[in-house]
């Protein structure tokens, strides 16, 4: 018997295009249609006043609260204090140092994130190894002819970024080491890692920060002081690395045993096996978890306000206390929330892009 291949036909017209989409997703049966209309009504009746308050009735230009008389949001408040939101109490004459450090940071990150830029490896080395040193001298000074800026003057978005970037850059490698240690066949290494991870995971970050700022100095010898910011940084890093270790351990467990065996059979040593075979695959699986931890870390940095560091949120609250601007806390909180959201959302989007890029077809699962 013979059969002929039938030509492919286009789908019925009411299933495609805008009409098809609306029918399928919003008006698919009476219940869905009613739900769409009700939800739509509430969305519109809520969003319209919000948009009106934020954009249409708001005030943007001026230099005191007298400029805010349209009944909407008073963005003048934010704009006039923008420097403080971004730079904290950093001396004005030295602001260029902060800005330079920030531009270098964003520039290198954009370079790494853009798909077509060359020499990514070099830029990564610069960002992870050289940049932190450069940034430290730029921000802290006290050498190369730069005057010293004490860390208690640091604040606002720049402090938040310092906390987050240092936390992220330091907790990932530490987390990897801890995760590998936890899987180690050497009992002492394994126990040390398990104990470390479980202790840090069992303690709230606030407690860690209190310990770092209040308790720790009690154990130091008389006269010895240790920068408060540095203590907070160490606390955050150790805390987050314990979480990171657990995320990474999950990724390591998802790698089939056959991959370890193939690497062993080829004669690769432990570190070669881990760095060349296991980690690249595991890290790919772990991207969502790692970014999740990064985002949590970024937001957790705002907890440092309880030990008297003025991060973005703390600066916002301080601004609310200003007698000249009393009554505009909604604006400052919204602005702070927007800043946090922009950074967290960018991280999330980048992780999705990275996941797609690293997808090399289904692997062989054994």
């Amino acid at each position: 018997m013979k059969y002929e291949l039938q030509p492919a036909m286009p789908p019925p017209s009411n299933l495609i295009g805008v009409v098809g989409w609306l029918r399928k997703n919003l008006f698919n049966g009476p219940f869905n249609s009613v739900a769409t209309i009700v939800v739509g009504f509430f969305l519109i009746s809520f969003m319209v006043p919000v948009i009106q308050w934020i954009f249409i009735d708001s005030d943007w230009v001026g230099d005191s609260r007298d400029a805010c008389n349209s009944g909407g949001a008073c963005w003048v408040f934010i704009i006039s204090r923008l420097d403080q939101f971004l730079y904290g109490f950093y001396p004005e004459a030295e602001l260029w140092r902060l800005q330079l450090a920030f531009i270098l940071l964003i520039g290198s990150i954009v370079w790494l994130v853009m798909p077509q830029t060359p020499k990514k490896g070099l830029v990564a080395v610069w960002l992870l190894v050289i940049y932190p040193v450069v940034a430290f001298f730029l921000l802290y000074g006290n050498s190369f002819g730069l005057i010293q800026v004490e860390t208690h003057l640091w604040g606002g978005l720049s402090l938040t970024l310092v906390l987050a970037v240092v936390g992220i850059v330091a907790s990932l490698p530490l987390g990897i080491v801890l995760a590998l240690g936890r899987q180690s066949e050497m009992p002492i290494v394994r126990s040390v890692c398990v104990i470390f991870i479980e202790i840090w995971r069992g303690v709230p970050l606030i407690t860690v920060l209190f310990m770092a700022s209040v308790m720790l100095p009690l154990f130091f010898p008389e006269g010895m002081s240790f920068d408060k910011l540095l203590r907070a940084l160490i606390g955050i890093t150790l805390f987050q690395s314990a979480y990171m270790a657990e995320v990474i351990r999950g990724g390591l467990q998802a790698i089939p045993k056959g991959q370890y065996e193939a690497a062993d059979a080829l004669g690769l040593g432990y570190w070669q096996k881990m760095i060349l075979i296991i980690m690249p695959q595991a890290l790919k699986l772990m991207i969502p978890g790692i970014v999740n931890t990064f985002i949590a870390l970024f937001k957790d940095t705002s907890l440092v306000l309880i030990i008297g560091l003025f991060d973005l949120l703390a600066i916002g609250q301080a601004a609310n206390q200003d007698p000249k601007w009393i009554g505009y806390s909604t604006e400052s909180y919204l602005f702070v929330a927007l800043m946090f959201w922009v950074f967290c959302f960018s991280m999330s989007r980048y992780s999705q892009q990275l996941e797609r890029k690293l997808h090399t077809g289904h692997g062989n699962r054994a």
Partner: protein
């Protein structure tokens, strides 16, 4: 049927090999000598310890008693010896175990570059030569996930050969393949055998055993039940257990 290419040099030597999984005695007093150029086919029911035995040879499994000597290197706890043996012993797995994040070519050059410290150019030339031999040089820049099972297994064979091993271990290399792909893998293995490679194959491909094996070993319950050259093994099995096994797998 096959004319043996074996020399007198001992490549693999197992002496009173014993292994336990916890309380469970998986390998019982295994004694086996494999000479250079010899092809050994190992068969037996599942759970008979055949895979475990060849996995002991490159220390993917640890043995608790007895001696293993591979190309004059004793296999002991010394990590140097283990790594030295692994350099000499190639292994092909049932599930290929290619590295999915690397291209076919990168899979092949990885170990020569990192373990043997071979210059990349040289390693790549050698890898292309071997991919040619397993008849897939045109897939060199693809990722394993883009290849069929048979192609993946041939890449896995080429990857092992890139290390210039003295011995090749095959752990059920065709069991995970679709029927129409088994032949292309077996063809490569037969060619390899004809070139004089020392091979230990765990497989149930009896046609392959008849064509290339110098000896067929039948294992059951963690011990070697019977060992013979293929013609005798298939036509005149001595043990009841072997007869039963052969009647079961050769029925169809």
């Amino acid at each position: 049927m096959s004319h043996s290419q074996a020399t007198d040099k001992l490549m693999v030597e197992l002496r009173d090999l014993n292994k336990w999984y916890g309380e469970f005695h998986v390998l019982k007093n295994i004694n086996l000598e494999v000479r250079q150029g010899e092809k050994i086919v190992i068969c037996g029911p599942s759970g008979s310890g055949k895979s475990t035995m060849i996995r002991c040879i490159n220390h993917l499994e640890e043995h608790q008693k007895g001696d293993i000597i591979v190309s004059d290197i004793p296999l002991n706890e010394d990590i140097k010896n283990i790594e030295a043996i692994r350099k000499e012993v190639g292994m092909v797995f049932q599930h290929f175990n290619l590295f999915p994040h690397l291209t076919v070519l990168e899979n092949c050059v990885l170990a020569p570059i990192w373990v043997k410290k071979m210059p990349r150019k040289e390693a790549e030339a050698r890898a292309m030569e071997l991919l040619e031999r397993v008849k897939i040089p045109d897939q060199a820049l693809k990722y394993p996930g883009q290849l069929s099972g048979g192609q993946q297994q041939r890449v896995a064979i080429a990857r092992s050969l890139c290390m210039n091993p003295d011995v090749m271990l095959f752990d059920e290399p065709t069991s995970a393949l679709d029927p129409e792909m088994i032949k292309e893998v077996l063809d490569v293995m037969i060619e390899l055998a004809n070139e004089g490679m020392t091979m230990l194959c765990v497989t149930h491909e009896m046609g392959f055993a008849k064509t290339v094996a110098d000896r067929v070993i039948f294992m059951d319950g963690g011990q070697i039940v019977e060992e013979n050259e293929p013609h005798e093994f298939f036509n005149n099995p001595q043990h009841e257990r072997t007869q039963l096994f052969l009647s079961q797998i050769l029925q169809h």
